[in-house]
Amino acid sequence: MSQPAIAVAGAAPFKGKRPATRSFWRNVLRRLLQDRFTMICFGVLMLIILAAIFAPLIAPHDPYRTSMARRLIAPGDARHWLGTDELGRDLLSRLIYGGRLSLFTGFTPVLLATLIGGALGVIAGYVGGAVNMLIMRVIDVFYAFPSVLLAVAISGVLGAGIGNTILSLTLVFIPPIARVAESVATQMRAQDFVEAARATGAANWRIVTAHVVPNVTGPILSYASSLISVSIVLASGLSFLGLGITPPEPEWGLMLNTLRQAIYVAPLNAIIPGAMIFVTSMCFNLMSDGLRSAMDVKQ
């Protein structure tokens, strides 16, 4: 469409955030704060995150220090509250330190995938045509793999390590996020207010940043927040298979992997690290659910 170069008198270029957008997010925040269930989850998560950040101050023992004499002590011990692992390392300390890697490898892929997938989706949806075709067909190919299989395949080929875990999970999460972004951005392109912006001569960059991105942000955030829990379970799962974090680093999935050998001797010790993965993933999921209902304007 040709864009008539008419300068509308008095139509000063728009600066700053749109007030409507700000009040929407303020409403969401207000509803979230009123949701007691969500706030409890938030509290539990903050506890785990703070414990991980301040691990050196909180952990009662050195998480790397082994002791052959103190192997697989059952939980409830006076010195080792949650017992020790197969090499005599203090479980509680390793769980506290383990939060660092587990949260990092769980959260980073979703963040990266949201940025990359979101950008790809917005470009595909807004530009349309051949560009859309090209981007979305490539996305479709990666979407044609079961997600766990794709993560295992990439990690398996590249080898263990933090970087490879993050890379493989990012690749797993880009396609679904890009699809969400693309479908919303495509709808936006046909909206009257985007047409109007184009008619007044707004540049593409202007339209994308002022109209498309603010409208795509909500659905993407809502979807990406639900992926954090999946990502934490998958990242620890890769370590559990021996494809993620490498020993002797403390990480919940890896701890579960090494303690699995002791499942008949010390079942309680073997199960404890998984409970941490469960609680964390559950809290993220419930919070994402709370966020979704807080953003649901229809309610």
């Binding site: 997600s147 398996g156 799962g237 579960l256 079942p267 998984g274 559950m282």
Partner: protein
Amino acid sequence: MLIYVLRRILYTVPIAIGVSLVCFALIHLAPGDPLSSIIPEGASPETVAQIRTAYGFDRPLPVQYLKWLGHVVTGDFGTSIMTRRPVLSEVLPAIANTLTLAAAAVTFGFLLGCAFGVVSGYVAGTPTDRAVTAVSITGVSIPHYWLGMVLIVVFAVNLNLLPATGMGEGGSGSFGFGWDSLQYLILPALTLSVIPAGIIARSVRGTVAEVRKQDYMQTLYAKGLPGRRVFVHVVKNALPAVLAVMGLQLAQLLGGSILVETVFSWPGTGFLLNNAIFTRDLPMLQGTILVLAMFFVLINLLVDILQTAVDPRIKRA
């Protein structure tokens, strides 16, 4: 309808080619020489070059890809480096075992998910609904490999009711419908069913709540239809969407069972993949991933076609 099916199948062809490209590329992404595990240490450069030629690694990549694709299309997935047997003859029995596990898990998941979903969809918005929803969220967020360990501790170690791992004495060859075999299936299938159960419960809840909001529900009640007859209408309208979710979950489980198979030493594709990764048996890895991904594409295709055939509301665009 026929035209729709044909178009949908045609649309799958480029996806399948893309998938094969990714599987091919995976091997070349691998750090180090893909032949490093078969070339003996201290081999002379001539021997190395000979092996490279024998495996076709000396040719340009596009040529290698087309040659490989030609073999794959005719059912030749190469030879496993570790077992020296054709990859396909290793993958097919493993796929059968994984399918058995996945089908059992989806059946459990469907029953659990429908029960939870229908209850919470009928009472949408009440505290009961919130409680049921919380349970289904638990299903989606639980690390299933950990749940498997917990189930082993409870049912195999403490109660001594069910076997902890494996597939029974005869392995997959003598697996049948008797208790001797099925008792090995219960724990892994239950473990694997929590994710589909959670997802199916969510989608059933949404669909049932949606259907019950429709105007014709008022009409059905107004003309005096008893509750259970109305329920039949709810089921009829909700079923296509739920079946589609179930099909997609079955497809996801084909690849998603690797963690559970590891916990329970179930001799399926996950087990095969795990072995292939740690022995760096790249042809095996490539073949297993390709077969699984193709199954995934195929099931997605079938689900799409079936859903369109069953539900006239979906436009055959």
